[in-house]
């Protein structure tokens, strides 16, 4: 009997950003640069790319609600179909880049990778890369939307693992500093990459492994503690660093509370938890109410058993998150 070959997951990069931010320039650069990788591109804004011999597929955003008991769970049906079809010819490319429309909500795209079994087993979401125009981003962020309508620019920044701050040549140093400060206040987890003419080192956006549980915490938690404390509707990041070990039963209850009560408000979360009696780190990440977690490498003998996590979303109450988590700690031995 033959056995199935080990599945090497194909990395997928999601590229978001408003029209005019420079996405197309970056995509063209990705497709023409001599980087030695074959990239399949799924594009949502029609007719922008005309590269010969490249695997470029048009998609039409089709959002499905799932009946899986998760109230905010939506996925992209078009991506499931197209990616399923692409995976049938996976020997033709090394990685996939999905370009979303300027107005796309990144949540259904990210959730698709958690929900669909075939995609989970064959594809690895590498990173969400958000491209912004340094000159116009503040205007987009400050745009007042009607009740119930999301500010897409804000959401795209909140979901990002990498933010390409493009057209930096068109703003002053002071303006640039202000833009960076605003982006940091929304998403302190993402790395900001300044650029002009969409020229960047591709290694900084491809092969990031931001959704890779083994690399889940590549941020500086100290930095996160500086983020502003806010109770309103604005999107912020909250980073926690809490020493000690947690009770396995209590942390499970905490997780149920977090996903059930806060899942709608949390866009992204990542963390490492020290569970009492477990010699390995427990790493997790989530998108809204969808959660992925598993034991990771063992804690090193000289390593402090410290819980570190970051949440990006709305209505995040640092005091409440801290208190609820601290309640899970076991008494120091």
């Amino acid at each position: 009997m033959s056995t199935s070959e080990a599945v090497v997951k194909v990395p997928v990069t999601v590229l978001t950003g408003f029209l005019g931010s420079g996405k197309t320039t970056l995509l063209n650069y990705l497709l023409t640069e001599q980087h030695g990788q074959r990239i399949a591109v799924i594009e949502n804004e029609f007719g922008e790319i005309g590269i010969d011999d490249a695997l470029v597929i048009d998609a039409e955003e089709e959002i499905f609600e799932m009946n899986n008991g998760c109230i905010c769970c939506t996925v992209r049906g078009d991506l499931i179909r197209i990616l399923g079809n692409l995976m049938a010819r996976r020997d033709r490319f090394d990685r996939i880049v999905i370009e979303t429309t300027g107005l796309a909500d990144p949540a259904p795209v990210a959730q698709t990778f958690f929900v669909d079994d075939e995609m989970r087993s064959q594809l690895a979401l590498d990173a969400i890369v958000t491209m912004v125009d340094a000159r116009h981003i503040l205007q987009h962020l400050d745009e007042v939307k009607p009740e119930g309508v999301e500010n897409e620019a804000l959401e795209q920044l909140a979901f990002a693992d990498r933010v390409i701050l493009n057209k930096t040549d068109l703003v002053t140093a002071d303006e640039l500093a202000e833009v960076e400060r605003r982006i940091r206040s929304i998403n302190s987890m993402a790395e900001i990459i300044p650029a002009s003419f969409a020229k960047i080192d591709l290694d900084r956006i491809l092969g990031v492994g931001a959704f890779d549980l083994a690399r889940v915490l590549e941020f500086d938690p100290k930095f996160l503690e500086e983020s502003e404390h806010q109770h309103d509707q604005s999107v912020t990041s909250v980073g926690l660093e809490i020493a000690g070990e947690v009770d396995p039963v209590k942390i499970n209850d905490w997780l149920s509370w977090l996903l059930g009560e806060k899942g709608v408000d949390i866009f992204r979360m990542k963390g490492i938890v020290a569970i009492a009696g477990e010699d390995r780190r427990f790493v997790f990440q989530g998108v809204h109410m969808l959660f992925d977690g598993e034991p990771d490498r063992p804690w090193q003998p000289d390593e402090d058993r410290t819980n570190r996590m970051v949440f990006i979303g709305r209505n995040l109450d640092r005091a409440e998150l801290t208190q609820r988590f601290t309640d899970c700690l076991v008494a120091a031995r």
Binding site: M1, T3, E65, M66, N67, G77, I80, A88, D116, D117
Partner: protein, 331 residues
């Protein structure tokens, strides 16, 4: 029954779909390379039909002898072995699936968000019925009066003579696959959520089988419509629809697969079920509750599709590497 597997033809990329000629002497295979091949079962000689740019996704062969193919180019082509190309219909989006009705008078094709119904009676009529969401599968009632199409939001039913939507089985979620029992009593649809929803075709009473580990894209009835087999990532479960139906019962299961089951079909005499799996193996089981298969064939690549010949003497198998295999009696 002693069976033997033989590679009879090949395409440059994955065989996405295949279908037998009405008399069982040839198969048509569509490949993601865009090729559509008609291959003689005994001589292995092949005829290459017009290509579908970007890939052929679906094929079917009518009882009257007309081959239909559809692809990622959104085009549906009709071809006859005697006269060559006999029709071409253009839609917008991928043609995910197409099916002839049992009489061969009408062809239903899922193209993008449209269900296209083509009259093959020489009138050349075609109707494009917009369903608002991508059509994932189509299936006819055995009497050919009704055709169903699955979309996000349920199953939509049309009658070729009427054209308008005659009935809708609404369900909040994405349906991916559709199979009408050959008796016409039941219709089963697989969903993105890992469930199978079964309806009484003419009354819409429904029931649901849940707990599948992933989306349900492959399902098939026994020729007598008494049992429904469902493929998943680990094997095949079969539900018994005799008497009061499967409510409250446990399904039979087939063991021995080492991967996702990508294709299944019951033999015309309903004694055997054949499965294709990502572990490169075709398995033939003599019943729905077996710990191991009776026959196993390694085709060296993931199986993408398979089909019994009309008289049940052969199985055509399409693989991910583009090869087309024939499993037949070893005589």
């Amino acid at each position: 029954m002693a069976l033997r597997a033989q590679r009879i033809s090949g395409c440059a990329d994955r065989i996405a779909a295949l279908a037998w000629s009405p008399h069982g002497n040839a198969v048509v295979a569509g490949s993601l390379s865009g090729e559509t091949l008609v291959v003689d079962k005994t001589t292995s000689e092949s005829i290459k039909l017009a290509e579908h740019a970007l890939g052929t996704l679906s094929v079917d062969w009518s009882p009257g002898g007309v081959v239909a193919s559809g692809g990622q180019d959104g085009v549906v082509r009709l071809w006859s072995p005697t006269t060559g190309p006999v029709g071409r219909v253009e839609g917008s989006g991928w043609c995910q699936q197409l099916r002839w009705d049992p009489s061969g008078r009408h062809l239903a094709a899922a193209v993008g968000t449209d269900l296209i119904v083509v009259d093959a009676d020489g009138s050349g009529g075609e109707r494009h019925l917009g369903l608002g969401s991508t059509v994932t599968a189509v299936a006819w009632s055995p009497n050919g009066l009704r055709v169903g199409a699955t979309v996000y939001g349920g199953i939509r039913w049309f009658e070729p003579g009427v054209g308008e939507e005659v009935r809708s089985f609404d369900w909040k979620g994405s349906m991916l696959s559709l199979a009408v029992a050959p008796t016409g009593k039941w219709v089963a649809a697989g969903t993105q959520e890992g469930t199978v929803r079964v309806y009484r075709l003419w009354s819409a009473d429904d029931l649901e089988m849940t707990g599948y580990p992933g989306k349900v894209t492959v399902l098939g009835w026994t020729p007598d419509g008494s049992r429904l087999s469902v493929a998943d990532t680990e094997g095949v479960t079969t539900w018994n629809f005799k008497g009061r139906g499967p409510a409250g019962t446990r399904p039979d299961s087939l063991s021995g697969h080492d991967g996702r089951v990508t294709a299944l079909q019951w033999s015309p005499d309903r004694r055997l079920i054949v499965t294709g799996c990502t572990d490169h193996l075709v398995r033939v089981y003599s019943g729905s509750k077996r710990a191991k298969p009776d026959e196993v064939f390694d085709v060296g690549s993931e199986i993408s599709t398979l089909a019994w010949s009309p008289n049940g003497s052969s199985i055509a198998v399409g693989a991910a590497d583009g090869s087309l295999w024939m499993i037949s009696s070893a005589r």
